[in-house]
Amino acid sequence: MPAGRVLAFAETRDSALRPVAGEAVTAARELAEALGSPVDAFLLGPPGIAREAAGLGAYGADRIFVAENEAFSSYAPDASLRLCAEILGRETYSAIIFPASAQGKDLAPRAAAMLDRGLATEVTGLGAEDGVPVAVRPVYAGKAIARVTFTDLPALISVRPNVFRAVKRPGEGLVESVEVAPEPSSQRVKGIETGERETLDVSEATVVVSGGRGMKDPKNWAVLEDLVDALGEHATLGASRAVVDAGWRPHVEQVGQTGKVVSPTLYFAIGISGAIQHLAGMRTAKTIVAINKDAEAPIFQIADLGIVGDLFEVVPALAAEIRRVHAES
């Protein structure tokens, strides 16, 4: 029997695709290649979103199912499930891929319960054995890595942001519009409140600059903000729990076991000792840089690069040097 297709959920917000949409489709493409099957994607959004949807073809979606309605400018879990069920009625699928974003982590379990299928969340690796998806996922805050398979298909999978880097390739997807009525739901999603300015979320940034208790005072964050600024638009701030608990930084910035799990390309741990619960949140970063005045700090055991020194001297010098080399090139 040929393997079923792979379906990806393409997340939208404010009339636009979110970056994790491209990642979900890229992950679906990777799995589809292991299975030898095509990739479809589905999304909901306000009228006009179909134009955006076409762009998913470049990440490997052969067909894109789109439901447009004014009511879908906010997250619409019930309508998303109806669209998903409608698509599953048309074709056979081996897997459905969601991003492990706030939306994906809310939606995927609802879909799993509706379909009576197993769900593997925060997946960091995908493959197939005998036509059945196999997913790799960290458990126990990354202290162990599980390989899991599924007794029934489609397998439901959510992929950790920043792990399956969205890859563009030549190709166009076929956009097909699907009617989904915005039936009254038992819950109303009133939209998203952002602060004064919407900052890049720490779980989605490719460069994270995290500060810990070594920063001494919340006022000193100007030093880190300046480094973020020098690093460019893909960089954002993170924090250890010590400084969140102290009320110096908001909880949304916390990295670690009781904060966010991040997998950026580059992670700076500045004035952070490297407690096991902090490491749980950032050990899958591609490159870790530690700046700490204590050469014995545990963070140096997992850092790829480090400087032993006073952060108040090192960090400003670092921002200046980055600006200098950027100006040169």
Binding site: R18, S74, Y75, Q103, D106, P109, R110, A112, A113, D116, R117, G118, L119, T121, E122, P138, V139, Y140, A141, K143, A144, I145, A146, R147, V148, T149, F150, T151, D152, S186, Q187, R188, V189, K190, G191, I192, E193, E198, D201, E204, H251, Q257, T258, G259, L266, I276, Q277, T287, I288, V289, A303, D304, L305, G306, I307, V308, E313, A317, L318, E321
Partner: protein, 248 residues
């Protein structure tokens, strides 16, 4: 205000995790277990809602081994009124747990069903929304702020770059994120009182797990890298190394 809080027994966040001889499970020997930290937040919220309403009840439910009685006792000591252990063996997947919980909760009177946002053992982050779907209840996950008045709930949930506001009429499901409140410690009086509170233990037969663990391994060790130097003088070398790796 009648609340049900689902709580799980998990290894302490400091625990060293060793893989058992079967290569598929964790060696439990010597591992300290605690109530899942987010579940403490969920329980605290239920207790505060009951206290604010001046009436109602808080029931705690757990699916797990006999040893889960300990965390149920802790919950009773914190102030829960009664506890149920749905006793089972093995480590069921999220959907199997959700089905057992939904079957138990479905038959009970309740305004609110509370969960932690995530159990720190399997890191599944799926049971709350599954239970909501199985019981056809409205649901807000990863909640950092909850207001309840006149049978209506307004929840703020953490999303990338902000907070999403969800409204629904009770009954409903909420999963708690850290920051929603600061959980209390059981008082000596609470610990004494807990001994007299009802703790019901029942065996349950769980459906087969649809997610099967093939293997469990230690994470690839991260090579500890290079300290490129000390102080600000080391900065140019650090930047050179980052450029070498095409990171800047």
């Amino acid at each position: 205000m009648k609340s049900i809080v689902c709580i799980k027994r998990v290894p302490d966040s400091e625990a060293r995790i060793r893989i058992a001889g079967d290569g598929r499970s964790i060696d439990p020997s010597g591992v300290k277990h605690v109530m899942n930290p987010y579940d403490e937040v969920a329980l605290e919220e239920a207790l505060r809602l009951k206290e604010a309403a001046g009436e109602g009840s808080v029931t705690v439910v757990s699916v797990g081994p006999e040893a889960s009685k300990e965390i149920l006792r802790t919950a009773l000591a914190m102030g829960a009124d009664d506890a149920v252990l749905l006793q089972c063996a093995g480590s069921p997947d999220g959907l199997a747990i959700a089905r057992a919980l939904a079957a138990e909760i479905g038959g009970r009177e309740r305004d609110l069903v509370l969960f932690g946002k995530q159990a720190i053992d399997d890191d599944n982050m799926q049971v709350p929304a599954m239970v909501a779907e199985l019981l056809h209840l409205p649901c807000a996950t990863v909640v950092v702020e909850l207001e309840i008045a006149d049978g209506h709930a307004v929840a703020r949930r953490e999303v990338e770059g902000g907070h999403e506001v969800i409204e629904f009429d009770l009954p409903g499901v909420v999963s708690a994120q850290k920051g929603l409140n600061e959980p209390r410690y059981p008082s000596l009086k609470g610990i004494m009182a807990a001994k007299k509170k009802p703790l019901e233990v029942r065996d349950v037969e769980l459906p087969e797990s649809k997610v099967q663990i093939l293997s469990l391994e230690e994470p690839p060790a991260r090579q500890s890298g290079d300290v490129v130097g000390g102080g600000a003088e080391a900065v140019p070398e650090l930047v050179r190394r980052l450029r070498e790796r095409a990171l800047l």
